[in-house]
Subunit: 198 residues, 2 copies
């Protein structure tokens, strides 16, 4: 099983933050034997998100996106995924009620744009997010799936550990990658490289 | 002027290190007004490096790669760039002598595989690297260039600051992106988003 990570957010392209999400997800995928051949980063632009997702789907079975699920106009992941899988966005009344309940519980002010967060690509499966307000979702495709997670590291990790990794583990093969770091006292990597029997 | 960063190294796909190189380069590009619409990460695999570079060249004027310039068998950037620009690799006698002199100066052991580092795509311009042994280079294309830098952050930053950024500054436009972080005491981004006049 091959995966690709697509990190979404203009802040990553402006160098405002390090993409520690992608590093962490890569570690988790390695540990369960899912191959990762590519990572991509794209800004908050619907057309470019769609293009990157289509390419990722052509290269990998599982595409994991992070970021762009918030309520503001620059949060384009829902629209990008919908275009990439060729489905319209659909309003989920039940999801809306959950979001409203969370806002009430967190004592936070709700605005009309939060309605956007209850829109998901038609046919998507909701990934319940008890640790934040951004709904996450999975779009199953004939040859794999796109899984969209929030960019907030705490929420992303919770959803990975509690929903995505168990789901992937059931479907991944049994071969995993074991890493061993060998520290050498040799004079540089060229000498080590030329001494290995490969 | 649009750029794309291509980070090369299987260690990035295994989550062994954070890609702080790409973050730093993104900051520098922003400061001189070069747009960055995509970042890509690929492992030490010649065919996949070539494919990612071809795609990057189709999307951007300037492609900046980091990593994969060492002397060991997993250092595939030279071959990948050569394939992407459609040029054979060529041995540079003068570069070889420089590498030998550096090894002598650093008192390091040289092996036959260091000869690989004196191979560059035909027509490439050498970017002098006084702070390390990995030769860097630029391949000029009709519509832009591929610039290949080492993955060692200290070397990469030195070459960016002393060679690549001055070269880019001469060619980039004059519009730059200014960021201002506004801290708010409001109840969440959805409220701030809906209050902005856009």
């Amino acid at each position: 099983m091959n995966a690709e990570i697509v990190s979404i957010g203009t802040e990553l392209l402006l160098g405002e933050i390090n993409d520690t999400n992608a590093t962490w997800i890569a570690q988790q995928l390695k540990d369960i034997g899912v191959n990762l051949f590519y990572r991509s980063t794209v800004g908050d632009n619907e057309a470019r998100i769609t293009a990157v997702l289509k390419l990722a789907m052509s290269r990998a079975d599982i595409v994991i996106t992070t970021g762009g699920l918030g309520p503001t106009v620059d949060d384009m992941t829902r629209q990008g995924v919908a275009s990439a899988v060729g489905q319209p966005l659909e309003f989920h009344e039940d999801l809306m009620r959950e979001i409203e309940a969370k806002f009430a519980r967190f004592n936070a002010k709700m605005t009309p744009n939060n309605r956007l967060q209850a829109m998901l690509p038609q046919g998507a499966t909701v990934i319940d997010n008890p640790v934040g307000t951004a709904p996450s979702f999975r779009c199953d495709m004939p040859d794999g799936a796109i899984i969209s997670l929030p960019g907030v590291p705490r929420e992303m990790k919770f959803l990975m550990e509690n929903s995505v990794l168990p789901w992937l583990r059931e479907r991944a093969g049994t071969s995993i990658i074991k890493l061993r770091v060998l520290r050498t006292a040799a004079a540089g990597e060229s000498w080590v490289g030329s001494s290995l029997p490969i």
